[in-house]
């Protein structure tokens, strides 16, 4: 099996999200597409950090764990920040969608006439 196989599956997941953002009419589907693409990016960073046979980056007082056997801790810390910010942006998008539904009575973006550019 190809050594890049997990990365390729991750790229497929990202492409599904991008497809939803670009071609769907329903605003909730577009938000779901953004969320899926964001999951794929987080997953990619964690996949890059994985070391074959590695251990979680936590030391123990009862057992000696060599620092060289740990997975890469830096992407873990950055993805932790990224996940929380993703929730914040998702919540904001949902609030805007609820507001748009209240104003136009539909989630269909082609029917929100005053937003046409």
């Amino acid at each position: 099996m190809n050594a890049h196989m997990p990365y390729i599956l991750c790229l497929i997941l990202f492409c599904i999200g991008i497809y939803a953002v670009l071609s769907k009419r329903n605003i909730i589907k577009i938000i779901l597409g953004v969320v899926i693409a964001e999951y794929a990016v987080n997953l990619f960073l964690i996949l890059v950090a994985y070391k074959a046979g590695g251990r979680a980056a936590i030391f123990s007082t009862t057992e000696h764990i060599a620092p060289q056997s740990m997975v890469d801790p830096l992407p873990h810390a950055l993805v932790l920040t990224s996940i929380v910010i993703g929730l914040a942006t998702t919540a904001f998008m949902i609030a805007l969608a609820i507001r748009l539904y209240g104003k136009y009575g539909t989630f269909d973006i082609t029917r929100m006439r005053e937003l046409r550019g």
Binding site: H4, C15, K51, F59, V71, D72, A77, A91, I98
Partner: protein, 182 residues
Amino acid sequence: MIELYVLLGLMIAGAIIAIEVRNLLSAVVAVGIVGLGLSIIFLLLKAPDVAITQIVVEIAAVILLIRATLHRDIATKPCSSRPFGGFMAVLFLGLAVVAGILTFDGGLNPFGEPLMTVSEFYPLNAVAGTGATNVVTSVILDYRAYDTLGEATVLFTAVVGVLTVMRSRGRTKEEDLQENHE
């Protein structure tokens, strides 16, 4: 690592269902499958802190999405494409695939061999430097504490934004006048 491929396949199936199913509530539940599968993958990839955060965030996101779609779960129309949608989708998917091929051909290490040139420092020095046995915690709360401060700022801004957008009515002129009078 066969579990990893099974879970990735489950996530891709969940994502396709979420995008193509007509009922909005079902779509939201399918995205929940994707997020929870993601958190199990984080556990398999030895990232327990990230997995815990992902579970909490996923549940919160699904609750918010259900709040948005509840009572409004009208099925989407069958002809739900939009003008230039297909063209844009083909263009950007092509760009994504080209970028992926370029990345896989040059530079990207094979799966399971991380590039440790920068982050080697953290496992070697975390305990002596910060006293934290969890290296991820030492990075978040000590070496890159300003990142976490920025994250809290973004979270606060988003909460203020959501409250502003969701407020049901604005202030009236009379209220403003009254406040100035007092």
